[in-house]
Symmetry: C2
Subunit: 253 residues, 2 copies
Amino acid sequence: MLSKQQLIEYSDDARKNYVNHISIDCVVFGFHEGQMKVLLLKTHNEEKWYLPGGFVLKEEPIDTAANRILQQRTGLDKVFLQQFRVFGDPDRSKVHNDMYADMIPKEQNWFSGRFISIGYYALVDFSGAIPHPDQFSELCAWRDLDDIPELQLDHQKIYQSALDTLRLQLNYQPIGYNLMPKEFTMPELQKLYETILGKKLDRRNFQRRILGFGILTRSEEPRKGGAHKAPYLYSFDLENYQHALTEGFKGGW
Amino acid sequence: MLSKQQLIEYSDDARKNYVNHISIDCVVFGFHEGQMKVLLLKTHNEEKWYLPGGFVLKEEPIDTAANRILQQRTGLDKVFLQQFRVFGDPDRSKVHNDMYADMIPKEQNWFSGRFISIGYYALVDFSGAIPHPDQFSELCAWRDLDDIPELQLDHQKIYQSALDTLRLQLNYQPIGYNLMPKEFTMPELQKLYETILGKKLDRRNFQRRILGFGILTRSEEPRKGGAHKAPYLYSFDLENYQHALTEGFKGGW
DNA sequence: TTATCATAGTGTATTAAGTACACAATTGTA
DNA sequence: TACAATTGTGTACTTAATACACTATGATAA
């Protein structure tokens, strides 16, 4: 056991030696016109884009912090938001540090430290989400999955990890409630899966499988007015959807 | 865009307002005599047990930190170790703060801050792991999954979350290489799965499924000497095992 | 007006995976 | 030498996954 004096020294050492910068970065997915999109920010004095991010307040739960940060930086509110991984390589924030180096005296520069970042991914209904940039950013824009520009820091890695997580979760969790409008057609939902997975699926097998999950309700009336045969409209059965979210689909063992 | 002066103020505010304490906590699973076990620590002046944990050094990758912390606190080295979740409720470290409150003057007490903890889980071969407590702890002991004592802080929650993660991963990843000795029998491996899942499995179906994964090699000679019919010995085919680890088992879509 | 095209809805045969269950072989012990 | 405990193996049944083809509707162009 340590003495009181040893403990005090230990505390002082800790302050000096341990990482003390935590950030949150959000990968925001939206779905529009058959394409999965990611929300990115940009300032005018930087070429590269970056993910909306920020810091956790001292008395704030991290999930609350993630929601607040997303709201402040993009204007998005009340979205599905979930942590998926921590990014903590020492060199991950080097560029970030340089960025502010000429702006703030070094001894005053809180940003010159080494950051550990908690990655969150968000799923939002594109049509209801009108993002707007905050005071730090000039641009706030949706970019197609297959047209992601070069990103700052390790944001490319964070984005890729979020996408991998999403793909894995397709296998044992329902998805779509937070990405689709209230009512949608089966081909539209299939497009969502295809754009996430990056490959084509068979219409008939997709429908059988999705319906087998029991999380969809079919409307009486099909969608009219469009060209071609009128498709049926579906909506999510929220009760079953929530149940599937917590329980997962195929138990495995 | 912000002015230089605004940026400096922003930096000062950040230092004051944002969380700046990060810890790592490890849930170490071991398997011995048909029972899954967790490694716990205890000091003599505290009743509750706790998970081995520590802090990340300023120039250290978090995975390296987790390995170092585990080594320092339990003597375990070169084990399978993986982050699974961040725990960041503001009240999660209250007890921790109180613990040191009478030992270190408040203004000097680095530990009185609010901590965000990265949860890691480890899988270790029990027979090769002889854990020993560090300078802070008095006891370092394996406890059966069904006999976990009361834990400090939110360590009960962290432990439960690690176990849930492990159970989920059974469905799409191989497991066992880090928990079993080099050679083992099929019933022994089945016991591992049963103790993780907390339920009985059918011998014949278990064997068919596990063998179907193609990650096991059967030895020529069965184990002799024991009572009853001599069981075959198996070992993991490392190449296929690694491949399954990265690729996963059943793709789903 | 009607043929055509694009899209939507539905069904069936085949294969693979999961589940339930029974009997034979080996080894130490009563 | 019969028995109990444990291990090895096989088979029928059910469910899920895959591959693939036809019919129906509505707008548009000949």
